[in-house]
């Protein structure tokens, strides 16, 4: 979504035009667990079709924010809305690709069952023909049509990644969230996957949030970066702004300024 008008804000970072259609709103979100503040007043929004990268070092609060958006982490304060409604009310508008290490690889199931489970919201005892065709069409979009009837246990890392992406896309969501999707994948596989994702995001006007601690790997693909550090959003802007020397200094400056 390069054509979007942009509004520059403090810190020299370019943020999306607030008049654009909002897919996800994160507004003043605070998460405290056992008295520790894991997220501190995080606010940003994702406009339609934008490919956002949620970055930050380990322990910055990325996973906590991700869980809060997914609705599996309670907020202490703040508001999170998907298409103007609480996430619990618009579940099908949200696709989720989990970290690969959490996949139960020895589960006796085929790719089509996994994809149909996302479609139905429960595990299929039997897959109907219409569901099968939907799963096949979605797998085709991610270049994995041949995987339809493959057992999950036999998939390579890259294949499993495509199947789980298809699983996230099958409900035709407005937003897809990916948690470190390229962890443990080689450089070539990572580049291919990011290219595929960026292409789908563009062609379908699908908003995406990719969570990673590796900002350099994603910089070419992302349209916007939300940068967290110690539970605070220290930058929200264009990749070039964050990767340049000035951007890094601004992060550092803003971060320390906030702490004073």
């Amino acid at each position: 979504m390069s054509g979007a008008a942009a509004v520059a804000q403090s810190g020299g970072f370019t943020q999306p035009d607030p008049s654009m259609e909002h897919i996800l709103d994160v507004d003043g979100v605070v998460v405290e667990i056992d008295g520790r503040r894991l997220l501190d007043r995080v606010s940003f929004f994702v406009p339609k079709g934008e490919f956002v990268c949620l970055c930050g070092p380990n322990g910055a609060g990325k996973s906590t924010l991700l869980k809060a958006i997914l609705g599996i982490q309670k907020r202490t304060a703040g508001r999170i809305e998907l298409l103007g409604k609480p996430v619990a009310e618009s579940r099908r508008a949200l696709g989720y690709v989990p970290q690969r290490k959490t996949f139960a690889r020895d589960f006796p199931a085929t790719a089509v069952e996994l994809i149909v489970a996302a479609l139905r919201g429960k595990w299929p005892l039997r897959v109907r023909e219409a569901e099968r065709e939907k799963a096949r069409a979605t797998l085709r979009r991610v270049g994995g049509e041949a995987l339809l009837d493959k057992p999950l246990a036999g998939l390579s890392g890259g294949e499993a990644q495509r199947v789980f992406l298809a699983r996230a896309l099958v409900t035709d969501p407005a937003l897809v969230i990916l948690d470190e999707p390229t962890a443990g994948v080689d450089v070539k596989g990572r580049a291919e996957f990011l290219e595929l994702l960026s292409e789908i995001s563009r062609s379908d006007e699908l908003a995406a949030i990719l969570v990673t601690h590796n900002i350099a790997a994603i910089a070419k693909t992302a349209e916007r970066i939300v940068y967290l550090e110690a539970g605070r959003m220290v930058a929200w802007g264009l990749p070039d702004e964050l990767l340049g020397r000035a951007g890094l200094e601004a992060i550092s400056h803003q971060h320390h300024g906030d702490e004073d």
């Binding site: 989720y96 139960a104 589960f107 006796p108 199931a109 085929t110 489970a117 919201g121 429960k122 595990w123």
Partner: protein
Amino acid sequence: MLTWLTEPLAIGFMQRALAAGVVVAGLCAVIGVFIVQRGLSFLGDGLAHASFGGIALGLLLGVSVDHATWVALPFTVAIALGIGWVLRRGKLGGDVATGVFFAVSFALGVLLLGMRPTTAPPVNIESILFGSILAISPSNLIVVGVVAAATAIALFGVWSRLAYATFDPELAALSGVRVRALEYGLLAGTAVVIVVSVKTVGVVLVSSFIVIPAATARMLGRTLFGVAMWAVAIGMGAAAVGLVLSYHLNVPSGATIILTLGALFALALAIRQRR
């Protein structure tokens, strides 16, 4: 050949043994699919030993071995929910949680048996530990049947959600599945199945009814439902074959059934190696 099969079944206690054995085996097998898939194989053993504590408590309270089941039932369900609670806290592994509960409740059982007054009627500990499938009474059989029917209906009702939660609790929760309630339900259901099965196969051997059919079926089925069907068929088949074999060989029935299960497991392993 046919008379070899039908001859033992002309006898009343053998008919009841076959009915109880086959139903208990099928019941344990289908529950076992979820237990094994969740990496909780040790749980069956733990809950069986916990049920021993419950039976001993019943005996101390002065009820008969048969009626002690009704004391063991809430006792074992409570232990199962306790293990579930510890599991959810996530600080201890399932094996550790089960190991602790298992040892403590078994020791409690031994202690309670020792506290019975010397005037109390003697108890056949061996039949509690190793089962007494040939001594199944018609009323035992009714209890087994009712529990089996209730479990089958409940499992059918939650199958799709339980399967999803077993595949990945996080993804299932995101789809709106109530994962925690299902987990506790599965643990409580397993406890009930184990308590009613203990009479048939005994405290020591019941977990093999849960683990072996499911472990064997996982090598044969491609989908979870397929695995469940294989597990039930393997469990029931082994129960019938083992029982008839034990009659002709004049050896203990429970042990013969489990050795039959073990042979089927080895066979499936060999088939998988050759594929």
